[in-house]
Point group: C3
Chain length 395, copies 3
């Protein structure tokens, strides 16, 4: 791991400004800003490993709103808040008066009087999650500018319909650590591919987040999926443009093995086809249970045609030196372990199991870095102060 | 905002003793005690705005028990606890063994071994909420006197069947700030009026809290509601007596516009008629679903006769200088926004929207002040210590 | 209460090593280790009573996983974590992705990146709870040894199918305080007896925990239950061996009054027969609702034959000097209070009510001591440091 001083120097060198800016989509940020977040995350991890407290809040709330289930991100958010001294307060819509017909504008202000950060997961409806986060942000601007709020809480996207930046940034940090530097990622081939799963309706935000982010750093990206399993077209376009700009490449194929050929990294993961998600969104909105059942039946039947989209030894063997890095956001559908037939064979998963855990282990620090860069202007200075203060985390 | 030193001086001057006394009903407290809470809340807000930590607990629980939904009060309670250094632990009856037939006396002690504050919302049943809070208080006395508890936690009423003191006190602070001082409220006319809502069963505690509190400060109160929509008679009587004593007045009318005439402040808000709440309480207790449905149907049909009880421009125009201050505890039923026809027109609400947000923004500080005055004998001294300590809240 | 210095001296004298060792079963620990936990708990209680902060973490999570309802233990765990500076994060399986088929091995790591302690309650299925805790422990070992986790969180058993160590250890501390010392418990007779309850399916872990623990300290234990209401045979065997080794005795009778004869301590508490729990486990696993209903009906009918297994004055009168200490883990089924006919008469319970509350009051300190001895090698030194630091808990 890099030395503390080197990390601070690198942070000071980045031309990054994330102060008081929401973190909703990685492609809204410059490469320097993304690197800045990685460096702050690494520094926080370093201080943690040296048992140095990184508390920078004596009080303050970190509000979480999970409109979908979560283990990893929930615990990562809680860990990040706790690491900086914030207290998590969950906005549980079932226990609130939001069903009384309260507006987003109002709720956003009501939960923010003493709040520093709001983390939101809203990934169920296409066209909704990102829009909702922007709406919350505008409401907070309105409240802050009109002096209703003493501070303007920052928003961290904990997964929306478009992007999953805390995941993709943790993945990027994992790649940086595995390959030595962001520079070293240039020219590396990553295969982001669909994989078979016995479930349906999985969000598109992980593959979209991956192609949207990795295309910023000169990587050669191959997106692979069966015909009809496309992602949001705008994001695919964006990935192509990003790749061009950063000196990498981007192409789409309809065969898993082709995508794996010569790959340095593979990311096989199931998702629902874009058009299925669109139909599902409409049916969910219409509360059409029969329609949803019928859609699920069709979608699962369609999935079943592509059971050979499994990450197995045979396919791993066509990757670079037969030893591409396998990645997954977890939990993976592991054949014979968590399901009968799934995304990956037990043998391949087991080989990379600990690596995927390490990958997940970056998320608390990434979220803490997103919180910190949002709330503090001179983060390098603050980290230096923490180092000098030398307060033990555990006595 | 008043200077810190002036606030401290004013606190020192109040002849108030709230140390180790539960805050259940505002009318159990003297005007000096109520002013004391406002002053402490203002001082906490001032310190917050200057980024000075107001932590006065290194550990300790603030237990919340919400027997009804809540967003605003839940977040205000969490913010207040966090501001002072306490950790919220929610008593969720669904996840506890209380259904095993445990007595209130026992539960109250079991959750209190390391607890400083217990906040309770219990507003569903007439005759129950306040009684429950007193029962909890007696159980805590019993436990403390018998050395089962190392401290006697203080109770804060987060809304009962009779009063909603954290709301009414936040409202009072809003009025103090808007009109310059409590002194300036003397002779001001406030119209606390029923308003139409497409829902039924809303608690009586807000209007009761308002007439019970504002009548202490020499205001002229007009309570307005359709015939048959009365409040708990005892509270109405009390408001009349209070008003007399404080040099104000209190009257009841059955017309919204009459109530608005010449008013400095209007508070249009729906509630269920007292006798409907009584029937509802009996039916809820008997678990009579059909009875409840029938009651709701009747109540809604009755409500519908009074759709003209809407706060609109026409009625606002008969208030003092056509510009009375509009108040609401939120969320309001806004015509065309959160419902088809409701308590207030979108145009009037929008004019005062930010003011109602500011009104709500006092609640965290009011609750923190209630906690602090309950736990510390010399609060002025403690606030001075915080100022001198000058520990940053955000580093 | 013993002096602080004496407590520290006693801690220094114990030949105990609980550092980084899970606390799953009291019989996995030596008597010195058990005494060590009691002494640390007493010292924490002493520091609390003197308003001295015992914070030893500046950040860190204490994860709780309750697979069954809990009030007492939930609040005790929250209080203990808070007392040491840890923040509770609840793993609510309903809100997580665990239902996606995630393995225990994976979840255990995912919730542990910044976690110090994991508290688990899993008492519903015979043969499952303890096994699950060991599985979590092995997963954490795997993650820590492979550098996925920066620390190996300690596990505290908050009740499993076999033992309930936080309860039995709180009970032991209560006995130590009541009789003056652990030494004084030698030769004392404790009657752990079944009692009638109108409910069924109560876990076996409390009686098992009591006979498994009290048999370590030279007590004479009489276990009493109706024929067919036996405990897990292995635990009964173990209690017998323990008693022999520690110079006490252990016998089983099928009559409550016989068990009470000459007893210094009585612990009358209902539980489900071992074989009913075995059937129930199978039916729960098979999701056989009809079978469960039928089993409940039979079990309750069987229970009803033993309504005279009630702790009443008549039975209390055959105990030592007619004044044995009555104990219960609470909530008790009190005849005429929480049920029509139950485990204990209202009159007997009322006599000992405050004593049972005091008994429960030790639990937060016991859990804090389990956390602390797991996380710190030299706890005496740390407690000395806290005393010297003299930071007020409440300012």
């Amino acid at each position: 791991m890099a030395k503390f001083k080197e990390l601070i120097k690198s942070i000071e060198k980045t031309n990054a400004d994330l102060f008081q800016k929401d973190f909703l989509l990685t492609w809204d940020k410059s490469p320097e800003e993304l690197e800045y977040v990685l460096l702050v995350a690494e520094t926080l991890k370093k201080l943690y490993s040296k048992n140095i407290s990184t508390r920078c809040f004596d009080s303050g709330l970190a509000v979480s709103q999970f409109r979908d289930n979560s283990t990893r991100t929930r615990f990562s958010f809680a860990s990040a808040a706790n690491l900086l001294g914030l207290t998590v307060q969950d906005l549980d819509e079932g226990k609130s008066q939001i069903s009384h017909g309260e507006t987003v504008r109002e709720t956003a202000n009501m939960i923010s009087f003493l709040t520093e950060i709001i983390g939101i997961r809203d990934d169920m409806y296409l066209g909704a999650g990102h829009t909702y986060m922007k709406e919350v942000g505008e409401a907070l601007n309105d409240g802050y500018l009109n002096k209703v709020l003493p501070q303007r809480p920052g928003i961290v996207n904990l997964q929306c319909d478009i992007d999953h930046p805390t995941q993709s940034m943790a993945d990027l940090l994992h790649l940086k650590k595995t390959f030595g530097s962001l520079e070293n990622l240039k020219g590396k081939k990553i295969a982001m591919t669909w994989a078979y799963s016995p479930s349906y309706g999985k969000p598109l935000s992980v593959p979209q987040g991956i192609i949207g982010l990795m295309s910023r750093f000169g990587m050669n990206i191959t997106l692979a999926h069966p015909e009809g399993y496309g992602l949001i077209p705008d994001v695919v376009d964006l990935a192509g443009k990003n790749a061009k700009k950063s000196g990498g490449s981007f192409n789409v194929v309809n065969d898993m093995k082709t995508a794996f050929e010569g790959a340095d990294i593979v990311y096989p993961k199931s998702w629902a086809p874009y058009n299925v998600m669109e139909q599902r969104t409409e049916l969910l909105r219409a509360n059409d249970h029969d329609g949803l059942k019928e859609l699920e039946k069709q979608a699962l039947a369609n999935n079943a045609k592509f059971k050979d989209w499994e990450c197995d030894r045979d396919k791993m063997d066509v990757t670079k030196d037969k030893s591409a890095l396998y990645m997954h956001c977890l939990p993976a559908d592991i054949t014979g372990v968590s399901c009968k037939e799934g995304e990956v064979t037990a043998e391949v998963f087991e080989q990379y199991r600990l690596a995927t855990y390490a990958e997940a282990g970056y998320k608390p620090y990434i979220i803490a870095a997103m919180m910190m860069t949002n709330r503090f202007y001179d983060v390098a200075d603050l980290l230096n102060f923490m180092k000098k203060r030398d307060m033990p985390r555990v006595y």
